[in-house]
Amino acid sequence: MTTVRFEKTNGPALAAIVAAGFGVLVLGLCTLLAEVSTATNNALNWWPPAGPLVGKTGVAVIAWFVTWAVLHLAWRRREVSFRMWWAVALGLILIGFLLTFPPIFQIPRGH
């Protein structure tokens, strides 16, 4: 059996993948938290014409960028477990998607 050796490690790709998953998760969490707490909803109202949507998405984008930068620096020369981190990323995305689905994030409203 021959082992294929690649010029580049898979760390940078998985850093981008996991960070994107984390960004989607934070988007979902902010959506839910804005429903649960009026204080959070008000704190996320960064630009009143568009309401708290700007804060929710702004926090998600910042979390995504920061996570990406940190993971990229940590993994840029490393070969990391694709299976494990791909599963983590898909899990984060799934939870993030579920938390942006109204029948789920509106549960605190009593709908």
Binding site: A16, L27, T31, A60, F82, I93, P102
Partner: protein, 170 residues
């Protein structure tokens, strides 16, 4: 039919950028799917890679444009406090309220996953280049992310079209 400035922006957001997105998405997906099987010579492979990078980054750019025009241009008009704004009209009619409480609230949130996922695909394709043809795991991950980008954008696009039909931005 006469369109106001609000209407024109909505047309750009929903009816110009969406078809462009569909074109570049289909092109990017096809290039990624066939990258491994092309058996190309070096110059041909470099052309194929260039096409792939162009399409994937074009898709990411269009998705960012869709989401930014949607959030910062159309959405403030949609949710204006005046009684004739689409949101006010939908919430005022009991049988139409779900177009806001379900459709708009899902669309406005989930669509923001698209640019995040599309940018990650752009990075992977650019960083790994030709190596991606031999890296099945990363290529498949990029394909899955591309499809998830499409899914999140499709929710936004389809629900947006229905909402515009029920309560147009005037």
């Amino acid at each position: 039919m006469k369109l106001t400035m609000h209407g024109w922006w909505t047309v750009v957001h929903g009816f110009v950028l969406v078809p462009v997105f569909l074109l570049v998405f289909a092109g990017g997906l096809l290039e990624l799917l066939t990258l491994r099987h092309k058996g190309l010579t070096l110059p041909e492979s470099s052309h194929a890679l260039h096409r792939l990078k162009t399409r994937v980054w074009a898709m990411a750019a269009v998705v960012w444009l869709m989401i930014i025009t949607g959030t910062y241009v159309s959405y403030p008009w949609y949710r204006a406090k005046s009684p004739d704004s689409p949101r006010s009209k939908l919430l005022a009619a009991h049988d139409l309220a779900a177009w806001h409480t379900f459709a708009m609230e899902w669309k406005e949130h989930v669509a923001w996953a698209s640019p995040i996922l599309a940018t990650a695909v752009g990075f992977i394709v650019t960083y790994y280049g030709a190596e991606l043809a031999a890296r099945n795991d990363l290529r498949r991950a990029a394909i899955v992310f591309l499809v998830l980008t499409f899914a999140a954008s499709a929710v936004g696009g389809v629900l947006g079209a229905f909402i515009y039909k029920v309560a147009p931005i005037g």
